[in-house]
Symmetry: C2
Subunit: 569 residues, 2 copies
């Protein structure tokens, strides 16, 4: 009984995810007025994706239908609502004098110049709420926060006269007004990688991932679109790549599909960073261009590749560089993002030892393995830059192959979180994607055949708590901090596809979303910690389910309703 009283008196944390940088809240209840609306306060008309965001937010307020996660659910709040003020409207206001652009334009501009900041206030006295921002992107982030404040009475009748006319109607309410938020992300890059090559993921399933990403303010979809197993990407200059390299015609992304994904993402504040992994992870190019691929499907595959099938670009052959550049150029011309990944992981040197064409090319061009690789990678990066974009690579290009990457190149750390220091010591900007914290496919057992007792190479399973414990600045010196642009969780799809992408990713990928938005300390000034975070993460998970994402239960519902009662003892 004493415990119960304490819980009732303790301030309930706002169930926002990611946690805003600064937030204050009260203990008053507010309900949405029956005539609540969202008002675009600028004289310049709202861009169409902003208008769509307003409509979508209005719909979510009424369709989330989420009862608060507390014992008794909505019943626990009904009494307080009798004294609640009605919120009449929400103003959206662009401040400053800069040109009003679309959310997509703001979301796809250079990483360093994006402005996602906003302020939000929800008064408790029946006056209007307000979101202010310098950009539509900031307003959109504010709308996302706003939409997480509201719960439903779940069809319970109310004492408010208006509602008595609508039996079964729900009131939409918040219990912690007045709310004030001042928010801006700690890191500019907050991503999610999805691999659509090991197994194909249809566009509609990608849309659903993008929705979930935007709910937790992830701003980059790292699209690992091709690999050795399949080449689903339609390339205008080389249509044969997907024609022969995709699993089937139905398992391709048409030029229009790619634009649809980019536009869908942009409108909800997400930049699409496409990756065409080279020179490794390219066996599927053999299907259309066998002359460009060394060691294709050589056995045993383990000698020539990290997984079947073997096959890598003959990067020392000038024609192969030329092809790769033309292919990249063809794709790059269709992408609004300023980021493009040329890949570069897991290059297998055995593949080339007995490859006559490769070895002859080295001789005829007077190069060795390293210099030829340097030529190839820098050549493809020239193409990326010529398209006005920044090249992105996996860490081996820098740390293993010692390619003399341009200083603008972004490096993704994946093999181990320990490798961030080496990247920083070489002075490169980095994106964190370490397998020891962020790989979503770990722990699902061996997928190779004939391997009864096999585990995944990166066992154990990386829980949300593990990801949440990641320190983006660990091992770095203060002067190196600015090299960290952010990070991302990653799903490689050897054992995944549209059937399980939701439950394997969500709500786990929300963990890194908060790590890189909120930074080291929560709004209370204390270090982030998973014990505080769990109740908020349950909330965002239940809200995701309400919005059609098949996010998993993190605990029995009994625990979700009783914060702290299911901690390790």
């Amino acid at each position: 009984m004493q415990l119960l009283s304490l819980l009732l008196l303790a301030p309930v944390a706002l169930a926002l995810w990611p946690n805003p940088r600064n937030v204050s809240f009260g203990t008053s209840s507010v309900i949405l007025s029956p005539t609540f609306w969202i008002h675009w306060a600028s004289t310049t008309p709202a861009p169409s994706d902003m208008t769509a965001a307003i409509s979508r937010t209005m719909a979510q307020l009424y369709t989330d239908n989420l009862q608060r996660l507390v014992v008794g659910r909505a019943n626990a709040d009904l009494q307080a609502l009798a004294y609640a003020a009605e919120l009449p409207m929400l103003h959206l206001e662009i401040i400053g004098n800069s040109e009003i652009k679309s959310i997509m334009a703001e979301a796809t501009c250079e990483l360093g110049s994006r402005d996602e900041s906003y302020t939000l206030s929800v008064p408790a006295d029946g006056t209007a709420a307000m979101i202010q921002a310098n950009t539509t992107l900031g307003l959109f982030r504010g709308l996302t926060t706003f939409s997480q404040l509201w719960y439903s009475t779940g069809g319970v009748a109310s004492t408010f006269p208006f509602y008595s006319f609508f039996p079964g109607a729900s009131m939409i309410y918040s219990i912690e007004a007045p709310v004030t938020v001042m928010d801006t992300p700690a890191y500019p890059y907050r991503g999610l990688l999805l691999d659509t090559a090991r197994n194909f993921i249809p566009v509609t399933d990608l849309y659903r991932q993008l929705d979930a990403m935007s709910y937790v303010k992830i701003n980059t979809f790292h699209w690992h679109v091709t690999d050795s197993q399949s080449f689903p990407l339609t390339v205008a200059a080389y249509p044969e790549l997907s024609q022969y390299g995709a699993y089937s015609a139905a398992q391709t992304y048409s030029l229009q599909d790619v634009q649809n994904v980019i536009n869908y993402a942009g409108a909800i504040g997400i930049d699409v960073m496409v990756e065409i992994d080279t020179p490794g992870h390219t066996a599927s190019i053999w299907e259309s261009h066998p002359d460009y691929i060394a060691c294709w499907n050589e056995a045993p595959w383990g000698t020539y590749a990290n997984e079947p099938p073997a096959g890598q670009l003959r990067f020392a052959v000038p024609e192969v560089l030329n092809f790769t550049q033309q292919m990249f150029a063809s794709v790059l011309s269709t992408l609004p993002s300023t980021l493009f990944s040329t890949g570069g992981d897991e290059l297998n040197t055995n593949c080339y030892v007995n490859d006559t064409e490769f070895q002859q090319a080295l001789i005829s061009t007077g190069q060795n393995f390293s210099s030829a690789l340097n030529t190839f990678v820098l050549g493809t990066h020239d193409t990326v830059r010529a398209a006005g974009k920044t090249p992105v690579v996996w860490e081996e290009m820098l740390l293993v192959q010692n390619v003399s990457l341009g200083p603008d190149t972004l490096v993704i750390v994946w093999i181990s979180s320990d490798d961030a220091l080496a990247v920083a010591q070489k002075g490169y900007k980095m994106i964190h994607g370490p397998s020891d914290y962020f790989y979503l496919d770990c722990g699902a057992g061996a997928w190779l055949g004939d391997d009864t007792d096999g585990t995944s190479w990166c066992d154990p399973f990386k829980t949300w708590q593990k990801a949440y414990s990641f320190d983006p600045l660990q091992n770095l010196t203060e002067s190196q901090y600015s090299l960290v642009l952010g990070g991302q969780q990653l799903l490689w799809t050897e054992q995944s596809g549209p059937e399980n992408v939701d439950p394997i990713v969500w709500p786990r990928a929300a963990a890194s979303a908060e790590v890189f938005w909120t930074g080291a300390n929560g709004p209370d000034g204390l270090p982030r910690n998973s014990t505080e975070a769990l109740a908020r993460l349950h909330d965002v998970r239940y809200r995701m389910v309400a919005r059609g994402i098949n996010a998993i239960n993190l605990q029995p519902q009994w625990c979700a309703l009783r914060p702290g009662d299911c901690n390790l003892v």
Copy 2:
């Protein structure tokens, strides 16, 4: 090239799952005649669930729309189809003189007296196919096998004149006629446990699991319906149990829901074995009957329970036994199955040490802990037997608590596969459900809060290959073999719910389905092995997806099309 020729010449294994006990097949193609139909060959009308099974099979033949898993997919087979005979019909024939009963009646009769055997022939010469069986249940198993023989040309036009009238129509074909199958399961009990108490699973999601179970001839749904976290089962004699013990009114199984699940299952050859776990795992009963529960929600929970919340029946109190018997009787009267589990796992003795009511009951009844437990368990088993059913318990009742169980009691081995021997040595019949092979929730990381580096208690993930390697007779002597009734994979739902039940269960649970149907050796007489099985399991997985089950990819599709190319090297 040499490899390719070998592959083309090698006999392709039929993609049946579970593998029949005896099968022979040829190399001729057969297509379904445009007027193909399934003929009920008995003069007695077919029971209504049999008629439904025929209709459903007819639909699946045309809606599976599965192209064969081979490089080139349907295109690889088109040439052969030009010479194919048309299969005009399939006869279903009950043999012998026994009364024709419904599939459900046959599926829910005593474990030892079920007859699931059947023979199937699909000629290559254009004459009719035939399934013969002693029971409708056998015919249904044969229909399930029959439905796995067929592939679609995927809308590819054909040389057959009939199809030229229907552009885009698919031919439905099999490439290994003539097929002859003589089949009967190795073990009578082949189950799947689902826990609907840690998190609730709606009835429609249970239906989908039952569908998938029937596709691989699993014949028992072990329904762990209640636990300490929630009590979703409506009990007619004690409606307050679910009224207060369920997560919400929407998260209950009404009396009608339970009958719907039982009838749905029975019609597709599945017996529903309900479990009301006692005397542990009962904290949710406190919500309606606080006097019956000891140590409810005592902290730290780890002292009193294996997971939160603590709370167990005060089994020494005569009124508690009386309540449990009345509750069981109320439920038992609604169940057609001859099996009912009273649970009995993870009883925590600390819970009772300081429980005044429990200790006073021991004194007033003149019993000690063990004798009181014996009285309680045997008392509840009397209730089970009085309803004409066989009691089923978890292994601790026998091996840890030494309850003097009746010789008819079935014991489920779960803690370790090593415990089967001890059960056998005590002479009890057993069902295998060992956590070291069959627990589907293992490997998903810790679900308790405040546990950053925690793994699941039964790490690592139990792959299908691990489950498939299980030997039901390991460590047993030949005289003990007959004690093994079968086994099951199990899903405990701390981290699951409708959002991920399909991908976490399927196709993995097909592994034990084959272990217990096919037995030690495949139809070729060789020991079962996962390397042979993988191609067939891919096939059943793709067929499940075609039928609406969100079964996961076991490998990249590249591997699924190239048996053997993705084995461990």
